[in-house]
Each structure stands twice: as structure tokens, then as C-alpha cells.
């Protein structure tokens, strides 16, 4: 910049006209003596014309503040002649005489309408959210089902439609649309939880009934068994009939035990277990018939902590199911492997398979495709596996066979229910 420029009035004038802020100069009576183009534009007036009265008042107010020593700018809103509102930030450079009387000054005016608008919007949004949250927290205290949720949503809609929430119509519609979406989701969630609860209740009721039946059948079964034994002494030649009684009592005893295990809620007695060994024992005790070929693909797996009696029961149920599914022969494959933090055990058969529709049903208690079965086998397996924190699934194709896969987490041991000496005292291990 040249010194000559600083002394050039025209140059200064050009600078003032170029400035992005409004600049005006007033005399002691607040008559405008100069306004730049930006200022005139803000006013909505042509150059050097009328300045709104309230702007003059604002300037006077600022001068008073200045006189008191305040140096801050002053936020102010006024109406343009065309009726639109404008928010501005005014700063000033005032001249006072020896008595402190205003002699005139230069004012800079920055338009802040847009910032104001944003602030307003933010405040309104906050207000919207707060009002909605208030309504929700009030209603949530008494949410107990679908109707309450619907009521809650209606309340929010009412709020949105009322003046309690300041925002545009489009904004309100957007909120309502979103709410409807969430309402649907919430309704589905409530329905799902309700069904779960009902299922749990039904299972508990079934469990109680099962326990009662099991208890009540044990006494007569004992008596039949004793009577059969005594009868055998008197009529040893009736071997066939006696064996039939014996076999049927044993079968009924099995049913009673299934019911009893199903309804059992005692804690797990976890012990360090070699899963492959447990699987081999289960296989041996299930005694697969000759027409079934057994393949073992048991890979080394770390010990896991399980209730051995119950896990063995689960594996036996899976193996017996597989055997039953292959009446005309087939291959039973037992496999263990490690997948991430789980020991995975699968029991595969090449039997009749399970249709897709039935695959969900098989886990339900008292569902069975075996006319002689109780339909508790797989629900017991699922229950035992889940008690251990594991999961089970099935992959099956009609005519090709099924694979049941158990995923057991590698847990740390938890406290056992009985000490070993106490366990020895319980002679009956069932």
C-alpha cells in the first residue's frame, strides 16, 4: 500500500463501499450523514435515504451504554420497511464533548439474522425433544403393554400438533413418521416378549405337571416291580409274562425319569470332563444295533466343565434319536472339533430327515414323530445344553438325514452342589 493511498479520500470511500459490514455515520441528533452500500442493502433502502426510527433508537441506546463505559456490541432486531425482520450486531465509535454529550459517531452493523435463525431452530429442537422426553418418561412409568405404547405415541402426536412444540409442519410430520416406525417396532418387541413369557410360563406349568406325574407314578411302579418279583418266586414257569411285566416297568421307569429330568431345576454339578470320553460312553450305553455303522471323528479337545450325568443324557438322547431315524440302517457319525471358544459336538445320521416345517417344532416338549415316544427327548437335550450356556441347532434334509450340532462354551468351573463324600451317600444316581 502506498502512503499516497491513505491520504486519498476516494480510496477510503472505495474501501468503505467494499466492506462486508454496514457502516454509517451520524451526527449528534442521529441524522445519517453517511451509509455505505452494504448498510443500505441491509436496510432495504436506497443509498442515503431514510433510516428506520427503531435503528436510530438502537444507536442511541448503544451510545448510552458507551457513555457508561460499556464496550460490547449490541444485538438488535428491527423491521425493514418491506416488513421483514432483521437481526443485527451494532458496534460504535462515538465522539463526546467535554461535558460528555454525544457529538456524533460511526456505527458498524453486522447482519446476524441467519445465525439467529439457526439458534432459534436449535432451541426449538431442544424444546421438542425435551417435551417429548417429558411425555415419555411420564408415560413409561406405567407402560405395561401394547395399549400403553399406543397411548404414549398418541400423546406425543398430540404434543406435536399442539403449540407446546415449536417447529415446522414438515419437521412435525417427519417426527410423527419416525414415531410411527418406532411404535411398530416397539409393538413387535412387546409381542415377542409376551410370547416368550407365555412360553416360559407354559414350560413352567408343564415342568410342574411333569414333576408331579413322575412322583406319583414312582410308587405304583415300585409296587408292580416288587409284586412281579414275588410272583416270579411262586410261578417261575411264567417267565415270559414276568419278563413282559419287567420290560414294561423298565419302560415306564424311563418315561418317569424323562419327566423328572425335564422338570429338574437343580443346579449343574460341573466337573472337568473330556468330552470325547463322555461321547464314547454315551455311544456305548446307547448300544447302536448292528445295522448301523458308527463313524467317530473325534478330534482332541480341551476339557470342559459340565454336569457329566446330564450331558451324557443329552448325548444319549441325540444318539438314540439318530438310531431311531435309521430303522433300515445307515451311518451314525460322531464328530468333535474346536470352533473359536466352543467345543462343537455333532451327531449325524443318514436317516429319514426332518422337514423344514418340523425343524422348529422338534424342540418343543411333547412333540414327537415316534408313536411310542413322549416327545421330551430333544427338549431335554436343548434344556441341558442351554443350562450349560451352550446352544444346539439342527440341519436336516428329508430323505438325506439330520445333523444335530451342540456348541459348548469352554467355561471355568463353578461350585458343585454336593461334596464328593455327600455324593457317595446318595446311592441312587438318578
Amino acid at each position: 500500500m502506498l502512503d499516497a493511498d491513505l491520504k486519498d479520500f476516494e480510496w477510503w470511500k472505495r474501501v468503505l463501499e467494499l466492506a462486508g459490514v454496514g457502516i454509517c455515520k451520524v451526527d449528534k441528533n442521529f441524522n445519517i450523514t453517511y451509509v455505505n452500500t452494504r448498510m443500505a442493502g441491509m436496510m432495504g433502502e436506497s443509498l442515503f435515504s431514510f433510516v428506520p426510527e427503531d435503528l436510530k433508537n438502537a444507536m442511541a441506546e448503544l451510545v448510552k451504554k458507551k457513555a457508561r463505559g460499556a464496550s460490547e456490541g449490541y444485538e438488535f432486531e428491527f423491521l425493514r420497511r418491506d416488513g421483514s425482520r432483521i437481526s443485527v450486531l451494532i458496534s460504535s465509535d462515538c465522539v463526546f464533548d467535554a461535558d460528555g454529550k454525544f457529538e456524533g459517531g460511526t456505527f458498524t452493523v453486522i447482519e446476524i439474522t441467519k445465525q439467529k435463525g439457526t439458534e432459534e431452530l436449535l432451541r426449538a429442537s431442544r424444546n421438542t425433544v425435551e417435551t417429548i422426553l417429558d411425555a415419555i418418561s411420564g408415560s413409561l412409568r406405567s407402560v405395561d403393554g401394547e395399549s400403553r405404547i399406543a397411548g404414549l405415541m398418541n400423546r406425543i402426536k398430540e404434543l406435536l400438533e399442539s403449540d407446546a412444540i415449536i417447529c415446522s409442519v414438515q419437521e412435525k410430520q417427519r417426527i410423527i413418521d419416525k414415531l410411527s416406525l418406532h411404535t411398530e417396532h416397539l409393538k413387535e418387541l412387546v409381542e415377542e416378549r409376551l410370547q416368550e413369557l407365555l412360553r416360559a410360563e407354559r414350560l413352567a406349568a408343564v415342568g410342574q405337571a411333569a414333576a408331579m406325574i413322575a412322583h406319583d407314578l414312582r410308587n405304583p411302579l415300585q409296587n408292580i416291580r416288587l409284586a412281579q418279583h414275588l410272583l416270579g418266586k411262586h410261578c417261575p414257569h411264567e417267565r415270559k409274562l414276568l419278563n413282559q411285566i419287567d420290560r414294561n416297568v423298565a419302560y415306564a421307569d424311563g418315561v418317569v425319569n424323562s419327566l423328572s429330568i425335564y422338570s429338574q431345576e437343580r443346579p449343574l454339578n460341573r466337573q472337568e470332563t473330556n468330552i470325547n470320553q463322555l461321547l464314547r460312553e454315551s455311544l456305548k450305553e446307547s448300544a447302536p444295533p448292528e445295522h448301523i455303522k458308527v463313524e467317530e471323528k473325534l478330534r482332541e479337545a480341551p476339557s470342559i466343565y459340565v454336569d457329566q450325568n446330564r450331558m451324557k443324557r443329552a448325548f444319549q438322547n441325540l444318539i438314540l434319536n439318530a438310531i431311531q431315524a435309521m430303522e433300515r440302517g445307515g451311518t451314525l457319525t460322531l464328530e468333535t472339533k474346536l470352533v473359536e471358544n466352543s467345543v462343537v459336538v455333532s451327531v449325524q445320521d443318514t436317516g429319514q430327515g426332518i422337514s423344514e416345517i418340523k425343524q422348529d417344532l422338534i424342540w418343543k416338549p411333547f412333540h414327537t414323530s415316534n408313536p411310542k415316544g413322549m416327545g421330551l427327548g430333544l427338549s431335554i437335550v436343548k434344556r441341558i445344553v442351554e443350562l450349560h450356556g451352550g446352544t444346539i441347532d439342527v440341519k436336516s434334509k428329508l430323505g438325506e438325514g439330520s445333523t444335530f450340532t451342540v456348541y459348548m462354551p469352554m467355561h471355568t468351573p463353578s461350585a458343585t452342589t454336593f461334596s464328593s463324600s455327600e455324593r457317595q451317600k446318595v446311592i441312587s444316581a438318578r
Binding site: 411302579l221 409296587n223 416288587l226 409284586a227 416297568v249 418317569v256 441312587s428 438318578r430
Partner: protein, 142 residues
């Protein structure tokens, strides 16, 4: 064993008459002496007037719980072996029974061999206990 059978009397406590009848027939056939009681009260009265080596007790009795009977019998005859034989099995019941002095907890329906085996073992244990105590008594007398 035969001498063991002859000198020991077994008390069976159950409100199921058929069971009482059948199990006492079974045990008598095997050479044991057997008494029966249909209620807890009857069992207590009988055990006050006679020494039983072994009692087979049901958990559910008409007048009071078999577990309560265990406690009372422990007072009247601490040397009696006590075995719970029941159709009711819960872990709580089992633990309580064992803590209150039951020597075994059996769940019906038992195989005949299991019943006989348990009775035999319990009587032998009792006999062993007696012999050990007798030796101790003799030692302290000397």
C-alpha cells in the same frame, strides 16, 4: 449273614399299604425280621418300645414329613440305620435328609436287587460300627 438277618429287625415306614406288604414279604422271604408302620407317629411309638437296626422311611407321611421323623428317631435311637425310600426326589430333600442323619436316599422304583443290597450293606455297616465301639469300650475299660 444269616446271623445278621436273624438278630436284626427292620422297620418299614410308608403310608402305601401295598408297598408295606410287598417289601415286608420280600424281606421276610430273604430271612429278615420286619415290622411296619403306616404313619410317623406309629413309627415313633414302635421305635420307643423296640430296637430296630434299620428303618426304611418314606419322605411323605400322612402325619409328618419323613425328614422330621428322621430327626425324632435320631433322638430315640441314634444307632439305628435310616434309609429314605421315596418317589419324591428334590436336591433339597436329599441334602436335608442326609444332613439329618439319613444313611442313604433311594428313589423308587428300585430294582429288587438294589433294595436287598442296600439293606444288607446298611446292616453290615451297623454291625461294624458296633464292633468298633465295643473294642473302644474295652480299651477304655482296661
Amino acid at each position: 449273614m444269616n446271623s445278621l438277618k436273624a438278630k436284626n429287625v427292620i422297620l418299614v415306614v410308608d403310608d402305601d399299604f401295598d408297598f408295606l406288604d410287598l417289601v415286608s414279604t420280600l424281606l421276610r422271604d430273604e430271612g429278615y425280621k420286619v415290622d411296619t408302620a403306616k404313619s410317623g407317629q406309629e413309627a415313633l411309638e414302635k421305635s420307643r418300645g423296640k430296637i430296630y437296626s434299620l428303618a426304611l422311611i418314606d419322605i411323605k407321611l400322612p402325619d409328618f414329613e419323613g425328614i422330621e421323623l428322621l430327626e425324632r428317631m435320631e433322638e430315640t435311637d441314634p444307632k439305628m440305620r435310616k434309609v429314605i425310600v421315596t418317589g419324591y426326589q428334590t436336591p433339597e430333600n436329599t441334602m436335608r435328609a442326609l444332613n439329618l442323619g439319613a444313611d442313604a436316599y433311594l428313589v423308587k422304583p428300585l430294582k429288587v436287587e438294589e433294595i436287598l443290597e442296600t439293606v444288607k450293606r446298611q446292616l453290615m455297616e451297623r454291625d461294624k460300627d458296633f464292633k468298633e465301639r465295643y473294642i473302644l469300650l474295652q480299651d477304655s475299660a482296661e
